[in-house]
Structures are given as structure tokens and as C-alpha cells.
Symmetry: C2
Amino acid sequence: MISEDIGKKAKIIDNIIESFLPKEEGPAKTVMEAMNYSIHAGGKRLRPMLMMETFLMFAGEDPEKVLYPFMAAIEMIHTYSLCHDDLPAMDNDEYRRGQKSTHAMFGEAMGILAGDALLNYAFETALSAFDTTTDANRMRRIAYALSVLAKKAGIYGMVGGQVVDIKAEEKSADEVTMDTIKFIHENKTAAMIESSLMIGAILAGADDADIKTLERIGSDVGLAFQIQDDILDVTGDEKALGKPVGSDEANGKTTYVSLVGLEKAKEDVAALSSNALSELACLEGSVNEHGIFLKDLIASLTYRDR
Amino acid sequence: MISEDIGKKAKIIDNIIESFLPKEEGPAKTVMEAMNYSIHAGGKRLRPMLMMETFLMFAGEDPEKVLYPFMAAIEMIHTYSLCHDDLPAMDNDEYRRGQKSTHAMFGEAMGILAGDALLNYAFETALSAFDTTTDANRMRRIAYALSVLAKKAGIYGMVGGQVVDIKAEEKSADEVTMDTIKFIHENKTAAMIESSLMIGAILAGADDADIKTLERIGSDVGLAFQIQDDILDVTGDEKALGKPVGSDEANGKTTYVSLVGLEKAKEDVAALSSNALSELACLEGSVNEHGIFLKDLIASLTYRDR
């Protein structure tokens, strides 16, 4: 039921993102092809989906003009991070979701440049939201949303998390503490979930208290999502997941599960998820169609088996 | 005389940039160190200097609040591009300006991440200009300046130029045409000179016709600057330049000079430079202290011997 709704919405979001992608033309065409290739490689479009539903939960009104550029932008930032994570000097992955990764397809230089281009184009795209209004209040919202987008993607968010992840991989397993694992999950993953929810609310005109609440919800959801990832690497079904399990243990990797054990990890996911859902229930709009979808989406993310 | 003025202004600009750099702290400290290392590696601070002087030529007033974040941002973007250009998969340079390049100092993964972090932080920094005002007109100027910053740095500017440069290096010399060389220079170099001049004017409240004129001036100056680079690789003095000459010919590289010859290249630099200077002379403010400095600065860039 929820997975059907998610699938339908993902298709709508794909069309929205598509409308913001660069045309593949001119002397620098290759990099546009590489950008679009990596965006088309798919994914669940989770971040723009969270953003859109949060916006609609608060606003009800047609989001097209101001929200759509931000939905495309956050997916571009997410995609650039995957592009660069896959590079030989980082995780060195030749494949992602069964397709060749960007650098494997276009060469290493173009893998770097496509990532750079996507990050830059994300800001170009989000900035186009200013073209939709001359109203000072609406401009202030767009400026606020842009600053959240930038902050959560950078050294105080996603990039910071990736840096600590890379450093942790260079350490021996027993040097990696729970603080480090939490820092990585909270920054590498949760920061962009936070910004998705926050930007939806900001653009819809939500008040500061609600935006703060959504930041906490995003943090809990992001952390729960990543702990569930660690759990599924132990208990998951290879067929359902579509990837091998047990790789963390085989690689001697310190994870949330290896530090606290499987039972405690499951308890923590349940606690984080329940926390997020009760905070969400206090928000205005949480009982409308979009609030209910958001609740189901969050539950499905933290209780997923794949 | 002009070089003394440039030196003084560069020191002032260094202090401005410094005030926007991230503190080196927290679990992701390494990437902040790498970012600051690459900014501190120096350079002429040409882009923020052009931006500041253009602003002052038009506005006369204290630029601190709205302009400074953009001056820091454009230098961060310039520095990220050098960080990534030096990577093994790109130009593979271990040294830049006599110092170890960022990836040589901090490792390849951190070289990639420091570049990503600088690009992202550039937007974080420039976006902080919105904190200086609640006036709708000033917000519109900031939004316009941000969109110019993003566009000229991305696939329709600097990144586009870098992509074509990388592709040209894979080709044999006789496949590289004048159109390609011009595209590279106009995008990889001139686009960021254009945005420096344009942003200074936009933030000072210059009108659209003047902003367009400055875009053309930036294009001429950027192209002349790069042709002069090619010329100096043939005629330059190794001591004055501080780098070996003749490397283009030794590497069989197609350059502006190899395509049209030394004399024609010199004529074109003179024509571009004179074009830029006469366009500048028509702008309001071009006879004030900052307009005169700008004129001298542009002349010194295109007629330089190092």
C-alpha cells in the first residue's frame, strides 16, 4: 500500500527532476551526459519526496514554482555525493545499483567533474526559485531554505560526515567509537534528511518551532535509517536486499551493531522511529493526507527489510 | 607603482578572506585544515580584487557587509578548482606555487573532499550576505549576484571550460581547433573574471547595461590573460616567471600561439586589452580612484611579463 504510493510519487518526482536537468549540448556535452547519467541511475528519490510532502503538509497549495527547483537541487547534491564516493580514491566502486558508476562509465576525470558540476548546478537550480517572486517575505524564505541546503550539505553536514567516515576506515576497528559512528550517521546521512524536511517547511511558511521539530525528526529518522542498514547487513535477506549481506563483519568494520549488539540496535531503531513519529504527530497538518503519508513513509524507512 | 598598490590591496583582501574561513575543529577537522591550507597557498587574489574595485568604482560606499562574503566566496571557488585540477586523474600536479598541492599534502580522498567542501562553503559564505538586509531591493541584488556566481562557475562557465580542456588533452594536437582553444579560455578562465566584475557592479546597484559591459570586459581580459600565458611560455624569462618555459611546445600542446603564431597572438592581446580599456572608460566611475586602479590593473594583467 505505502510502497505503491511511494512508487507513484517517485514517478511524479522523476518528471520534476527531469525538467531541471541540463540539455546535453555544446562543446562540454560530455559532462552533461555524465550528470544526467548519474541522476538517471535512479534511487528512491527519498529526499525530494520528504521535501514535497512536508511542504504539502503545511501549505496545501500548489508547490510548483518555488519548491520544484529545491526538490531537483537536493537530488543533485545527493547524486554528486554518490559520484564522488564511488571514485577510486574514495570507496572505489565500479557499480552502483547494478549499473556502472559514473567514473567507471565516463572515466575518472569526468567522474570528478560530473560531481563538481552537479553540486554547482544544484545551487544554480535552487537559486532559480528567486525568479518566481518579488515579494520580500517569500524571498526571505528562499534565502533561508538555500542556507539550510548549503549548510547541511557541507562541512557541518554531509561532507563532514564523509570526511570522518573516510578517516574511520583508515583506523583499526577497535579505535572507532560509538561517538564516531553516530557522528558519521548524523552528518553523512541524517543532515540531508533534516534539510529535506526543513526546506519543505520553510518554503511553506512554517514557523521556527516547527522547523526545529522537523530538524530533530530528520536527525532521528536518518540515524534510525542507518542503524537499520547495519542491522540488515547482519539479518537481511540477500534476495530482498539485492546485495550481499555480512560484508561489514567480513571487512572487520565497526558498526552500530558490532558496538551494541543486534538486540540493542533494534531497540534503538524502534525508539528513534517512535520518537520521530510522536514529534510528527504534534505538528499542524500531520492528520491531513500528506501528514499521514509522511508518517507512513518514515515508518517504512525505519522498519524496512530491504 | 601599480604592483605596490596590488600588493597592499592583496593584503587587505587576505584579511577579508581569512575572516570567512572555517575554524579548524571537531571530528571533521582534517577537511577544514585542507581547505584553509589550499586557500593560504596564496595567489594574487585577482578575482576578489576585481570584484572589490568594481564595487567601489560604482558605489563609493563601505562595502563590508554585502560584498565581503562574495569576495571570500569567489576565491573559495577559484581555489576548489585548483584543488581538483591538481588531482592525479586531472593534471596530476604534486606542487603548486612551490608548495605541495592539497592532495599531495592530505591524500587524494581529502584532496577531492577539500575541493567539494570549498565549493559548498563558497555558497554558504555568499548566502550569508542575506543576513545583512531585509530590504527587498537589496535582496534582489544579492540573489542576482548569487545566480551569476553559480552560473559562471558551472557547466556554462568554468567547469565547462575544464571539461573541454581535459577532452582536448586526450586529442592529438592537430585535432584541436581555434574554436576549442577559445572556448577553453573563455570558460575556464574568463567566466570567473566576468563574474568578479559583474558581481561587484550588481551589488553596488549598477544598471543592466553597465553589467553587460563588464561581462564583455571580463571576457576580453580573461582571453587576453590566457593568450599572454601562452606567449610567455614561448618568450618568457624563467626567472621572472618562476616556472619553466617552453613546456607547451615540448608537450606538443596546441595553444593560441601555435595556431596563429607569436606576432598575431601579441596583436590580439593588444586589441583585446585596448577594447576592454575603452569599454571601461565609458563607465560611470571610471575616472575615480577605483576606476583608475581597475584600468591599471587590467593593463598590468594583459601586458605582464610574468
